[in-house]
């Protein structure tokens, strides 16, 4: 850092203490505790625990159910990320095109950002309900008997639709602001070179949007992995049974319902490693961005 700085020995430490204290107590302690307990097998009645080494991890690797949940998480994350990015990009491009009403459209398309995922999930519960859901009835006219909470893939479909609905606004905001920061001159130059609007978009505009898109990709993956907990919990009505769940949801079930502290902690650690990798990728991309701008 090349800026003029104050030199005061104790003030910065005083300023940092609150943050460091909270992080130490509520972040590092739990995180360390998770790593530690992933090597132990907890007595279900709370009488101590025994060191089992990597057994919790090998159990995970061999568990067919864990693999199934992992596959579903992958599919779910992909679907949510893809559809919410695609829809948002389309809407942002159109909102950037129109001259009249752009502000109104922006408001209408972004306000859902503020709705809590479980509230969106409750709406999903009502709309997709097996006997009275409005969307269920709509599907019925096409001959699709939609059974939320009973059929695995029907439930998965509802989860993806609700999660996408909830995520489109964030992506829309970022894409629109990305599009609006592209200078007019660039567009006009492109207009001379290329008559086709679609061609112009993919050759000129989209590459300029790529940094935003990469950033959003990471944001969306994180969202699908972690923030959709409320959507899933409400749509399976807090009773997962045979319904599809994600890895984070499984950490929750195994830890709080199954009282399996060791297994749940091992799953937490696996997720930590996953997020670590994602973040490294993100930092790399951000660094590259700073060089360009």
């Amino acid at each position: 850092m090349k800026r003029a700085v104050f030199s005061n020995p104790w003030l910065p430490i005083m300023l940092l203490v609150p943050q460091l204290f909270i992080i130490a107590v509520f972040f590092y302690w739990p995180a360390g505790f998770a790593i530690q307990s992933s090597f132990y097998l907890q007595d279900p009645f709370g009488f101590g625990s025994t060191y089992v080494g990597l057994e919790n991890y090998t159990d995970l690797a061999q568990s067919a159910e864990y693999k199934r949940v992992a596959w579903f998480t992958l599919l779910y994350t992909f679907a949510v990320t893809f559809f919410s990015l695609a829809i948002a990009l389309l809407l942002a491009v159109k909102a950037d095109n129109v001259l009249r009403g752009a502000k109104t459209y922006r408001t209408l398309l972004m306000w859902v950002y503020a709705i809590a995922p479980p509230v969106a999930g409750l709406m999903g519960v009502m709309l997709f309900d097996q006997s009275r859901g409005n969307i269920t009835k709509l599907f019925e006219t096409f001959g699709w008997e939609f059974r939320l909470g009973v059929d695995y893939w029907d439930t998965a479909t509802a989860m993806i639709i609700v999660a996408v609905w909830k995520q489109v606004p964030v992506n829309f905001i970022f894409f629109l602001s990305g599009l609006q920061s592209i200078p007019r001159t660039v567009r006009e130059a492109a207009l001379i070179d290329n008559r086709s609007a679609t061609g112009r978009f993919w050759d000129v505009i989209f590459p300029l949007l790529a940094p935003t898109a990469f950033f959003l990709l990471i944001i969306n993956i994180t969202y699908a992995l972690f923030d959709t907990f409320g959507v899933i919990d409400t749509l399976v009505k807090a009773e997962p049974g045979n319904n599809p769940v994600t890895l984070v949801y499984k950490v929750f079930i195994d830890g709080f319902r199954g009282n399996d502290l060791g297994g749940s902690s091992a799953q937490s650690v696996v997720l930590m490693v996953l997020v670590l990798i994602l973040t490294i990728v993100q930092f790399r991309l951000m660094e590259r961005r700073i060089h360009y701008t």
Binding site: I13, I23, F26, A116, P118, P169, G230, D233, A238, M272
Partner: protein
Amino acid sequence: MADITETSAPATRATPAAPTRRRINWGVIGDHAILIAGSLFMLVPVCMVFMTASHDPVTIHREGLQWWFGEELEANFSAALFERGGFTDTVDGMRMLTNSLILGVGFAIGKIIISMMAAYAIVYFRLKFATLAFWVIFTTLLLPLEVRILPSYEVIQSMGLTNTYTGLIVPLIASATGTFFFRQFFRSVPEELIEAARIDGAGPLKFFIDILVPLSRTMIAAIFIIMFVFGWNQYLWPTLITTEEGFFTLVRGIRQIVQVIADGNAIPEYGQAMALAIIAMLPPVLIVVFFQNWFVKGLTESDK
């Protein structure tokens, strides 16, 4: 042809000899059609929930969400707000609304104060352990609370903080998002300001309070909005940490509703439930809509 007309403004300027009679511009109409469809996709489900909140439970049980107003709007909303019981036996909507406000505002303010202080220390001071402090703080960006949920719960429980506002709010603050925002912002503040402050004899504390904080007003407002919405919408953590209904937030109350629907013994009070859902989404939605310029700015600057 549609391509030329799509970007009508520069194109018409470039060709002044174009015929003056306006043609129907299909490209623009198509754009509007897509935008209207997108807006409806966002708007209609929430409108239906609002309409449904004005009906009696039997109608809703038979027909699902409603398309138009019924007779019970006031009754449902007042029941959702003031009637104890219904979905939660010992707590009314007002209590949950208060708790949600405490969580949202407490979280936002706590986060802003703590992260501004930390960011100030990191950006403006020559510190021995600066790099270490930086990494200690920014590692927390890696792991959302959901990932380490069970151990966090165990730690809070061992400290006896379940069913307290402290246990509800403080662990959520333990991440560096705010510090990161402010660090980026402080770094963009011109260096001449410090020089000027120094010449005027202002110390670091005076500089912080009299110059930097007022300068960051817009940034603070934007981060307040983002953090308020984040805190208000918390679900998993309040679900675990508050078992006493007196501490339930509105979003936590949604879970009770869903469980009553899942039980399916009697016809649930759907109308009241929808009213409660509307109450739960109203404050954050209003804030985001009214302060959208600040909010959008804060959100999109955060990734730089």
